[in-house]
Symmetry: C2
Subunit: 151 residues, 2 copies
């Protein structure tokens, strides 16, 4: 299935999310792990759309989200920097989700400069995250998932 | 705000609904009123998107949906026939929502031929409606809303 860029923008304006999770993680230098992710959730009947998105962006995974719902998900600042950011910089979102995207982008750029490995960087990232509509905080201490850095 | 057709298709694939309500209505010849509607719901912060859709389709209304949510809504088989159907016939939906759209289209075409004013037509329309994912039955007897035929 071929997806035109404007179709993708419209669909993500409706169904996409730009999350930045900040998890307590005792194995990280700053005791916190910053986890940006781009997610699109759909009922499993439209899993082919999620695979088409994955094919278009050349990165990410298609997974079960919850129950009958599947998701296309991209984590890892390298992939986000290389594939996701340039697309949405070129093809602007039309809803207010664009504001979240811009904060998401700023965080991914900071991570690409390794700022999330410094105390000041974490403070800056948390400040931006607090301004996002879609912020998602997990208070529990979780183990890092190696796979999550590369999908 | 200018909306490209493919953006609209993507957004409607995510956020749009094609409903056909069949209401008991004692004032109608067949005692039932068939009410097809195309609806897009958004948080009020993106009401400008709904107005842009209205501007694009040259019909319909922007209304409060529920609480902080607004909707763009087109009712009336004449408007649906003239403005909505041709658009989605030309620019195909990519999700399984297309199947609902096609049933919706069939019903609007039947209504355009005045079939909903005959007992056989109502049976046929109900049969199609039962196959839709987004079917919405209201069992209560309601008064016809004149405005709803023209927005």
């Amino acid at each position: 299935m071929n997806l035109e860029p404007q179709w993708i923008v419209g669909f993500v304006d409706g169904e996409g999310c730009f999350f930045v999770g900040i998890n307590a993680n005792t194995t990280m230098t700053q005791k916190k792990q910053v986890l940006p992710e781009f997610v699109v959730v759909q009922h499993k009947r439209d899993v082919s759309i999620l695979h088409a998105l994955k094919h278009h962006f050349q990165c990410g995974v298609v997974r079960v989200n919850h129950g009958d719902r599947m998701c296309y998900r991209v984590r890892g600042h390298a992939n986000l920097m290389r594939y996701i950011l340039p697309f949405f910089e070129k093809h602007k979102l039309k809803t207010k989700k664009r504001i979240d995207f811009e904060k998401f982008r700023d965080i991914v750029i900071l991570m690409n400069k390794q700022k999330h490995l410094t105390a000041e960087g974490i403070v800056e990232i948390e400040k931006i995250t607090n301004q996002m509509n879609t912020k998602k905080f997990k208070s529990s201490v979780i183990e890092p998932k190696i796979e999550s850095s590369f999908d």
